[in-house]
Amino acid sequence: MSEIFLRASNIHKSFGGVEALSGVDLEIRKGEIHCLAGENGCGKSTLIKIISGVYKPDSGSVEIDGRIFKHVGTTDAIAKGIQVIYQDFSIFPNLSVMENLALNMELMAKRKLMNYRRARAIASEAIAKIGFDVDLDERVENLSIAERQLIAICRALLHDAKLIIMDEPTTALTKKEVKALFAVIKKLQADGLSILFVSHKLDEVFEISERYTIFRNGRNVTSGNTAELDDRKFAFYMTGREFSEESYRPTSLGDQALAISNLSLRGAYEDVSFVLRKGEILGITGLLGSGRSELVQSIFGIYKPDSGTIEVGGVPAKIRNVKSAIKKGIGYVPADRLTEGLFLPQTIKRNIVISKLDKLSSAFGFLREKKIGDEVRAWISDLSIATKNPSLPVQTLSGGNQQKVVLARWLANDLSVLILNGPTVGVDIGSKYDIHGLLRTLASKGIGVIIISDDLPEILACASRILVMRGGRIVRELLPEATTAEQLGEISTGVA
């Protein structure tokens, strides 16, 4: 039972300037459900892609079923029985269930013509394996997310899968669907398959897996039996810190920085009201789809709310677009730094000043190079951004320094409200601590700060007040000193 099916040893991999994996190990036994956990950006997905042959590791080796690979090719991975079920499932929505199941088999057999009788036989065999009852002629786009996932699993089984890797499979599922999925996973295990279950949700890890491995910032933190894990340890391994960071208490609350009244956007959030005072750090948490991101993006002018009002500094504010939000003194650090926050191949300098060009150019629209240079130098030293030359592309910086560049861009505009969506996602621990400190300093200088984060300990450590959103509404207001991460998680999921 304890025979090893897959062993990845000392894997290194870097992209551009960032080392995604710095020598990680992973061991999966035959017939076990193994959970790989870690925060966003810790290298989980990179390792999966190395195991399944999408990426080539810089160094290290992967041993699969007794054979050692320096570089697993995609065909090696499939031949060895490794199947990955990605978050988007990689299925064709416009084809029928049967076609989706049989297509790869037909392609692999290098057949030029599709034989529908053979396809039907293959497909019905596949769904029978996990006892999945579905109409083979139904188009996949008419199925629910959970059903599509099961189809992806069936398709994986057709390739004689020995190890199925599921990348955050429960993100878009309801509680009931999660239960059903877990039943299928248990059944696969009973048939002797190994499962690598990637997740950062503690309750799921406890419920489904026997052993776990936790990564942080591209390194192994620990691995062992799930039974020996508790939520405190889990959070510590994930974040690397005991929650000794004192929660932030504003010394004195200033005037109202931002007031939201009865704001609604259909399909996203409903009837949301809150007041943010100067000097306060307001944490907003909630699951994906709770409406938290849409809410703050509406304040920043990305979405237009259907109804409700926004006041900035006590004055009603019409926010038509991002530019008018910036004019009102609102800044927003987006959730995805790489696609939304930064212009990666452009220089650090340009990335810092881009939102302040109105003030850094003359009446005829010519750039004031000297002013720009001064501004950039000041922010690089203020935020201790580690770079020799601000004319280098911003992608040469580490995640933490990249995030500081985004922050510098906003701080360069005189802000009254700063909103951060995932302020430290994919950021190394040192910079994370820097950024938390910076947020406290900003708040104490009188800026109203809002942070949104999945990282519950982060919310607890930074926020002076916490709002929990669920199903588009604010369901609870909490004070961090009287709350634990576990309670927060329970309120977000609706268990409590």
Binding site: S14, G16, G17, D58, I302, N321, V322, K323, A325, I326, Y332, P334, T339, E340, G341, L342, F343, L344, P345, Q346, T347, R350, I354, S355, L357, D358, L360, S361, G365, F366, L367, N389, S391, R409
Partner: protein
């Protein structure tokens, strides 16, 4: 000696990629020049040959700058030739109507100014239409401008019934073909001025920086508060404006305007932009590079003419092949750069 060599190397490494590309193009220009000089010294080095090259390159050079601008935003403007012809035809129609051949020069002169304004206004309007399709409606630039190109050419064909508009007042071509010091054609001077103005706009102005940033990542541009639609719109309007200048130059050189003039220029302009180092995915490119690419292409084109046995039928093969060759070499250089960056990292 060794030390200065080292610091030179470091300087090269730290200089922006665009500058290195401009240097590479300059070397290429010198090589092409020397090659032509060696192959056909008697023809190539004649002053008349330089004069004729300077007369040929502005009409597509200015359009190439327009296409380059659109490319820097991550789009493309395939409507430049259509815009140029339609602008020229609008001006020509007007001139023929108000000042047919034989009208005294003092009466023609003010009409010429109006005709030029009509052409420029037509260019602006054409650019505004392409710009609206791309920026407000979000239609992919390659489709939107393919459509407007066809539309503008179609309008030009209908209003001219497909006939060339000749019999322009002589004063127009006299002014249009004026040469400073009997050597530098007015059109070449215009090309230099346009290149200078657009270069300054890109490097020194807020709009230029916004073009580069939008071209790099339009989503990040939105989150940074840039007015994406406005920037795109203005880019295509500028391109339309430049095309109409080109149209006037063509009209002066041919002493007529025609709906299907310079059909091969679109391809040639795209080639110039790519050779000049403009990134077809947007975000990067320098006007200096584009100008050098125009010169290189003109020398090659003139060179082809010097070989009587290379028929004009081969021209498409040569330009198409050249474009693919440049794309391949850009791809190869980018890959090598990536590898070197990686090697430096692990070292």
């Amino acid at each position: 000696m060794a030390k200065s060599n080292l610091s030179l190397k470091n300087a090269a490494r730290q200089s922006a990629p665009g500058d290195r590309n401009v240097f590479r193009l300059f070397v290429m220009l010198v090589l092409v020049f020397v090659l032509m000089m060696a192959l056909r010294p008697s023809i190539f080095l004649r002053p008349a040959n330089f004069n004729s090259m300077m007369r040929q390159l502005p009409e597509y050079g200015i359009m190439a700058i327009g296409i380059s601008l659109a490319m820097m935003t991550g789009g493309i403007d395939l409507a430049v030739v259509g815009t140029a012809n339609l602008s020229a035809i609008a001006a020509a129609k007007f001139l023929i109507a108000v000042a047919p051949r034989g009208t005294p020069n003092e009466q023609v002169a003010p009409m010429l100014i109006v005709a030029v304004l009509i052409a420029l206004a037509t260019g602006l309007a054409c650019g505004a239409l392409s710009g609206t399709l791309v920026s407000k409606l979000g239609i992919p630039a390659i489709l939107a401008t393919l459509g407007t190109q066809q539309l503008f050419t179609g309008i030009a064909i209908v209003i001219t019934e497909g006939r060339p508009q000749s019999k322009l007042p002589l004063l127009f071509s006299q002014i249009g073909n004026f040469e400073f010091f009997d050597f530098f054609p007015l059109s070449f001077v215009l090309f230099c001025l346009v290149a200078l103005a657009v270069g300054i706009m890109l490097e020194r102005s807020k709009f230029g920086l916004e073009v580069y940033m939008l071209g790099t990542n339009s989503k990040a541009a939105r989150y940074a508060g840039l007015n994406n639609a406005g920037i795109l719109f203005r880019t295509y309007v500028v391109s339309g404006f430049l095309s109409s200048i080109s149209g006037l130059i063509m009209m002066a050189r041919a002493n007529s305007a025609k709906a299907d003039y310079g059909a091969a220029y679109t391809m040639q302009c795209v080639l110039v932009a790519i050779l000049g180092g403009v990134d077809p995915n947007g975000g990067f490119g320098k006007i200096g590079g584009v100008v050098l690419a125009v010169f290189i292409l003109q020398i090659l084109s003139t060179g082809l003419n010097m070989f009587e046995n290379v028929s004009n039928f081969y021209r498409d093969i040569i330009w198409g092949g050249a474009l693919i060759l440049v794309l391949l070499s850009n791809w190869y250089l980018a890959r090598r750069k990536e590898r070197m960056a990686l090697a430096r990292k692990t070292a």
